[in-house]
Symmetry: C2
């Protein structure tokens, strides 16, 4: 049989774009920009003399021919992949290790429940989660990247915002009903669950206009405990859409007030002097998508004003 094939890289791009019906998502999966996918698809369509996608408003849909083509080439790629997997003797040892330094609360409450999705999509990357309170020192630590909560400006590192957050108290619905709390001034100091630092509570109480009258006096727990404690009805925890996202969406926590401190966010932190590996880029893309999904889900619960998406800094 004649073996005329277009660029196989273009075929990969097409298969991913067809599966997602999105150039943007295909780009994220293949760790390239949407421009690269767009270019591959265009050239493939010219080469074949066949339209593969119809460009709808903000997206694309497969044409009939595109649909049958992707069904067929998917089988071809599956055959190649199965053959490759069965002959490869170093596939596991080929796995790249990626050491991620995260705060324990973020690890426990958000990252670890989601890691299965990352590792399933990226079996070639061996993720190592390094729980640490302190900012990673890339010159000394083993970590490749860090995820940190804060203002995003730290010395000697580059940081990309993953999402900006609104820091506000959360509590269980039962506690809210039982204590008849309607205003910040209704808060009882002994119910304000504390982390290691009072700083954040002071900031919020000030934003609420009650910092001169109320000071947190609840038990001091780690953040990874304040949220479950709040879920158990033991008080109010300061939290944000990410860290409390699952509990908020699940109805185990609610936000009693609209007042929030919008100054902090989650940041993807890396060594400014170092080129991103493919694994780092893959993790970053996955992480961003997952965090965005969490935040969107929370923001749909009660519609506060939409905040503009923060554009990505240069890598």
């Amino acid at each position: 049989m004649s073996r005329i094939l277009p660029s196989l890289n273009a075929l990969k791009a097409f298969e991913a774009a067809a599966r997602h019906e999105s150039f943007t998502l295909a780009a994220a999966e293949l760790n390239v920009t949407h421009a690269a996918i767009s270019r591959h698809i265009r050239e493939l369509e010219v080469w074949l003399g066949t339209k593969l996608f119809v460009r709808t408003g903000r997206g694309v849909e497969l044409t009939e021919k595109g649909g049958s083509y992707v069904a067929d080439i998917t089988r071809g790629f599956d055959v190649l992949a199965a053959a490759t997997e069965s002959v490869s003797s170093r596939r596991r040892r080929r796995r790249q290790q990626l050491v991620v330094s995260v705060e324990p609360s973020f690890a426990a409450l958000w990252l670890v429940p989601r890691l299965g999705r990352f590792t399933a999509a990226n079996p070639e990357i061996e993720l190592v989660v390094d729980s640490s309170h302190r900012l990673v020192d890339f010159a000394r630590d083993e970590a490749d990247i860090g995820i940190r909560y804060g203002r995003g400006v730290w010395p000697n590192v580059a940081s990309d915002v993953l999402t900006r957050t609104n820091m506000t108290p959360v509590c269980s619905p039962a506690l809210l009903r039982a204590r008849r709390i309607r205003e910040p001034s209704d808060l009882e100091p002994g119910l304000l669950l504390q982390e290691e630092t009072r700083r954040y509570w002071y900031e919020w109480l000030k934003a609420a206009g009650v910092c001169d009258r109320i000071s947190p006096e609840g038990p001091t727990l780690g953040l990874h405990l304040t949220i479950p404690a709040a879920e158990a009805g033991q008080g109010f925890a300061l939290a944000d859409e990410v860290i409390a996202g699952d509990a908020l969406v699940g109805g185990r926590l609610v936000k009693p007030f609209a007042i929030s401190v919008a100054e902090y966010g989650y940041y993807f932190v890396r060594d400014a002097a170092r080129k991103d590996s493919k694994a780092m880029a893959a993790f970053h893309a996955w992480l961003k998508a997952e965090i965005d999904q969490t935040v969107d889900a929370v923001r749909k619960l009660a519609a506060p004003a939409r905040r503009p998406a923060v554009s990505k800094k240069k890598r």
Copy 2:
């Protein structure tokens, strides 16, 4: 399924090398140098962590794993190719046209009988054979390339030697026996079949040391007729291993003398100012291989001293 694949270009290189069990032949098929194939194979072996070939003395053999891998990926490529062929609406119109200017004799006696092999291997190239006696003028003619017989030095064109040849008389075995011809001086002038020019006969007769006594007086035919006439026993035609190759190998013609003029050859002629297209490169590679095959077959009939292979000029 996990979809981890090595470089698909490397897979293509591997498949061709495995099919030929030769990096050199795979390179010719894919229009690259053997170095590119070697590099792809090495990187594929590293990536997989598996040896695909055993390097024997002057060649390679597939390992067991290599053999099963190529069997599997060939199916994958076949699926991709079949899918591509069924969806493509412009495959024929995608065919590149390649206009080749050749001398009528070469066309009739050598090229046309072989063209099927080229077009079968390169269905995407539409070959146009332009028979012409004169050297192609690339500024005026439609031709992309030319094939010419001569010394290889022409103005305004670049030429690559396809093969150097030995010009010598050929005749049918029956004629040889009937006329008891053992020496050049035994030749009868009326049996020396002529083309448009006597030049070549004079050169050969001089090399044979009989030019002062013998002059060609046979009928004047075109070269595309002198060979069949010689096959029919009507006389001696001046020919070479290429043009008379099929008849020599088939036993319809023989070379009565070892004396030959080695000054001429077949040349691949192209516009020096123009970059080769893939089609041109493909045709050149195919042509060279076919001509070499013809010449080798003739030279095996009666083993004259091996002539050194002429190295390829810079493209």
